[in-house]
Subunit: 151 residues, 2 copies
Amino acid sequence: MNSQDIHQIRAFDRFYTQTLHLTDKYHLQTTLTLVEARLLLEIGENGRNTAIQLVQELRLDKGYLSRLITRLETNGLLQRTPDERDKRAKVLSLTAAGRDQLALINQRADDQIRRLFVDLTPEETQRVITAMQVIENHVAIDPQLKTPNQQ
Amino acid sequence: MNSQDIHQIRAFDRFYTQTLHLTDKYHLQTTLTLVEARLLLEIGENGRNTAIQLVQELRLDKGYLSRLITRLETNGLLQRTPDERDKRAKVLSLTAAGRDQLALINQRADDQIRRLFVDLTPEETQRVITAMQVIENHVAIDPQLKTPNQQ
DNA sequence: CTTCTATTGTTGACAAAAGCAACTATCGCT
DNA sequence: AGCGATAGTTGCTTTTGTCAACAATAGAAG
């Protein structure tokens, strides 16, 4: 792999982070931060329902996560119910308000994607999507990135 | 653009943020944060040499940036010299140590990319790079993301 | 069934990152 | 000369994230 290739890839990385990736700030005009939105998504759609799963999936400090969950619970977006089988754990689930909020976030995120692709013909769009799949299927996950944080 | 497409793209976005994009944490084993590394890069390679340019390029708060620069200067990585033409401004430039540090960062970043691609054949690597170019050339920049921050 | 270690989650204390507003000095225009 | 805009700094605050200690429970080993 030559340095021209590497240069290309790093340029793409910068490009991507600044455009598609939602800047870490934009809660998509909701009152939620990016992490909070991500939590709702993981709980509501990806079946993670305990803190430990979220810690592993999102690589957050468990203390930090605990407080995030408290905040979301205070805001009425999710609830903690005791786990009958494992009394250390608490089962997390979205409230109706939480599901609404998540739906809103999804809709906003979808809209943002649509705006990014608005000038493309269907063929171009397909090319991009295919390109994304190529990347996703080929690029390895850096082992150095697999274990950090989570205490 | 159908919702299946959107789903694909958002999945890629999550994938990308977690793997290729260097997690915001990894200063690549230097003593620098990601922002600081980015500052060195912008100053040392992309010809930005005033605070205001960095504010615009990286979308940082100018107060925050001012302190970041102070820190880098204290660490001997860059210097501020008065701009003769505009006495409000200060010209930023890397010191020898700053250039060394930048070289190190670049090398580490390059290595990381290499690790990600290590299992790919040259043909596969080329496919990915081409895919990245396709994306970069086609995807628009969200106008909503163009103006935030910078007071 | 007791004991020991590992796990889940919470909390307090703290550090680092980021944002906001007020301020100074200078610029460029009229 | 006067005035609004601009570059940068500083103080203050909020937000975000980290670390360590802790309680409660689990699960395995004897």
